[in-house]
């Protein structure tokens, strides 16, 4: 039984939300005026943002493809947002039609939208839970069921850990999740780094203080710490475009401009 919250958070569409801002960056219209206003402001200051988001989306596709090709059929996508474009279940099922995906998000609008989208999908579920309370997240029946021993699970933390503050102990959260994964499971992670565009860090983080999920970009060293206990697959921890590109030639000259540091690790 879940502990009831005293008074539930109200809905405030006048406040931008990371999931809808991300949708705007990707050219979607699943957003409201406040989201668009913030996204436009961000792009004006940092015109690369739409490119970065596409690169992030492409990494998700490549990582899921890689994992599906290796036989993964269970995916736990935390911070799934509004998955209109290249959602995990679609990518995975191109290789493994029996793939099961549990989408988790703490944004009530994103959750409602995902449910709408996946209404008829028997192998996908959406859970309204918060990454910062991993014990509660793991206790949800849908999640517990997915993590039942037997088959490895691909844990996807794509562009979500940088919305967890240091006070909320991101390392501890990842440890808790890792310890709940069956043997042979995988972690695919994308995290905004401090080193990529140090000139943008401060203003960009300041913009996200408007949202319910402030942003904390971290050093590559700290990001690598999230893979404690995992064995990183080739090419290890790299910038977004460098991770197993579809065509090696298309990797641009300055991959750090994409800021996101990514990797896929496997548990023994």
């Amino acid at each position: 039984m879940r502990r009831p919250s005293w008074v539930p958070e109200g809905m405030d569409l006048d406040r931008p939300a990371a999931a809808r801002v991300y949708d705007y960056y990707l050219g979607g219209s699943h957003n409201f005026a406040a989201d668009r206003e913030m996204a436009r402001e961000a792009i004006e200051m940092w015109p690369d943002l739409p490119l970065i988001m596409r690169a992030n989306r492409a990494f998700l596709r490549r990582a899921v493809t890689y994992l599906a090709e290796r036989g993964f059929t269970r995916f736990l996508d935390i911070g799934s947002g509004i998955p209109t474009f290249g959602a995990v279940h679609e990518v995975a099922r191109a290789f493994r039609p029996d793939s099961r995906v549990v989408y988790v998000d703490n944004d009530p609008v994103a959750v409602a939208h995902s449910r709408l989208l996946l209404e008829d999908d028997e192998l996908s579920t959406v859970v309204d839970a918060d990454l910062t309370d991993p014990a509660d997240l793991l206790a949800r029946p849908e999640v517990a069921d997915l993590l039942a021993p037997g088959e490895p699970v691909a844990l996807l933390l794509i562009a979500v850990l940088h919305f967890v503050t240091d006070e909320q102990d991101p390392e501890g959260i990842v440890r808790t999740l890792r310890d709940a994964l069956p043997a042979g499971s995988a972690l695919a992670l994308c995290h905004a780094s401090l080193e990529g565009r140090p000139d943008q860090t401060e203003t960009h983080q300041a913009l996200y203080s408007r949202t319910p999920t402030p942003m904390t970009m971290r050093s590559v060293e700290r990001i690598s710490g999230f893979f404690d206990g995992f064995r990183l697959v080739e090419p290890g921890l790299v910038y977004l475009p460098q991770w197993r590109p579809d065509e090696p030639a298309e990797v641009s000259e300055n991959p750090e401009r994409m800021v996101g540091v990514v990797g896929v690790g496997l548990l023994p």
Binding site: G27, S29, A55, F85, E90
Partner: protein
Amino acid sequence: MTTPPPSDLPDTTAPSPPEPPVRAAAGVPDAEEWARLLRSSQGAAMHPDALHRLVSRTTALLHEAQATPLLDPGPAAEAGAALVEAQFTDPDLLARAIGLLHAGEPGQPVLAELAGAFAAGWAGALRERTLQEQEAIRFAADTARREAERALRESEARFRALFESAAIGIGIADVAGNILAVNKAMQDIFQVSAEELQGRRVTDLVHPEDSPGVWEAYEEMVSGKREHISFDKPYYRQGGEVVWTHLTNSLIRDDNGTPVYQVAMMEDVTDRYRLQERLRHQANHDPLTGLPNRSAFFERLEAVFDSPEPGARFGLCYVDLDGFKVVNDSLGHEMGDQLLAAVALRLESALRPLGHMVARLGGDEFVVLLENCRGEQEAVAAAKTVLAALSKPVPIDGHRLAVGASVGVLERPVAATTPLAAVRAADLTLYRAKEEGRGRWTLFDPQRNARSVSRYAVSVRMPVALDRGEFFIDYQPLCRLDDGSLSSVEALVRWRHPQLGVLGPDEFIGTAEETGLIMPLGRWVLEQACGQAADWVQRFGARAPHLNVNLAVRQLRNAGLVADIDRILRTTGLDPKRLQLEITESAVMGPEDDSLRALNSLVDMGVSLAIDDFGTGWSNLAYLRDLPVGSLKIAGSFVSDLKDSGREQVLGWRIVSGLVSLAHTLGLTVTAEGVENADHAERLRSMGCDRAQGWYFGRPSRPEEIVKRILESTSERN
């Protein structure tokens, strides 16, 4: 349901679309350039195969549009829509696509038409897609809001359940004090329905026993100066009955921080409060008699002294039962207790109607307090009432117990004294009443009180006086009558009392004996005096006087006396032959007495003994046979009373003469005390008295004076 998300996946099942012609027709962009354009936009996120298929499909459609003689806008529009479907929604992309479409032969109308149809298809699809996505996200937001509202309702339901079924009373009021809602427990506390409470004002619920400051604190809270207050507060129920509550009142603010509501939570603590009251009563009342006890009496007395009216007077009757101990000892404590309870009842019923407080101080002591006393007569009347109330025997268990009382009466202006002094004075007055015979009252006498008080001051102060060095020793000469030379000095302890001035031994030795302080004090005197005498011996050799020191009865009874004196003599280095201890006749009870052994040990040690104040006690001369004494001191009264001539004087001298010859017969030396003039000294010398002491030979004085005497006598002799 929105459009299913466009797939950017390699389609492994569908047949490949027809390959576009190698050379582009006019207006149809080169496939490579077209692919580059798409890859620079949303295509970056797509799988290369999917992008390839999109490029093929759109260029094929554009070819198809071009191929008809009159340009068919359909396929061109479809190509634009296909891009939107693949999330190519960036207007910048459209601009660059149109640029490519025009690149063939600029200005050609058919190309403009193609570009127009493509753009219209793109825009139409984007409009449709945007509307659908907006609809979808609105719908999602509505769903989320409904979900939030449902959660809110659930939360409210939980709170409502909490409110309704809470065991403590909860009430909500606005900041103006209007009660808006109360729960069941609150209704139970007030024993009214919700309707009867709702609409009343918090500020109407005043009770005279409200703690001071409770309403000020309430005002501070509702005005936002504090968040909550907590008090024990009484309330009236409808029927006038009082309910005691423990109340916590908290402020509720709106989003802007403005106070809007107050929530009161109260617990019925009436039982606890009553228990506290009972405990307080028990703490202030004597359980046996039910009268106020000592602490309650003092509390009340102190209240009398707390800011009195000018000229206010009060009275105290200190009552002590006569012969209560006899009842207790002969009939048992149970009977004694019943007697005390009966006495208490009589006193209470006789004096309470007069408006006086009767309290039991303990044992068989009672006190009557007269507040606002009108004068001595009223206090005396109260004392007479006490005696009258106890004049008739008290029937208990078939016995008729005659119980009298003594009463000490004190009646004074409040301003003239303090509670403690008043009680002490009343107590001393009671003892005078007892001494003067029982069954009577005695009125406070300021002069007698002063003397008693000084005795009191002595006994209270004495324990610390020794530590603080308030005692000192004077020495009085004892002179040989044959040549007037200084034979010995008697050590006399003095007390420089901080309030009473210098006190002589008569004024405190009795108290010291009663309190046991005589032991350390006596030891101190011996140490000091022996040290002094030894010092004189060192300085003046044989010319130094011997030393006389008084021993109290209690010191004699102390088993450690011999060892003490032995130690003192050894540490000071005083020759035991130079020390004479003076004891009184009453000191030794008989030949079996332990103290006799002690005295013999002392004599064996070389110390000599003198009987002090000889002739004043119950002189059983037989003891002189057993005691190892070497000297008698004839009490000063024998000589100092010989003032007048005549028969009494003649008789007096005969007695003194008899005492001297008695002593000599027993082989003892004789010292006469109280010698005040030369005439007496001469008569004593002529009758053979050995030594004399008294003002004529020198008053008690400081050691320096003695030193002068030693030096003078030496120079005279030389």
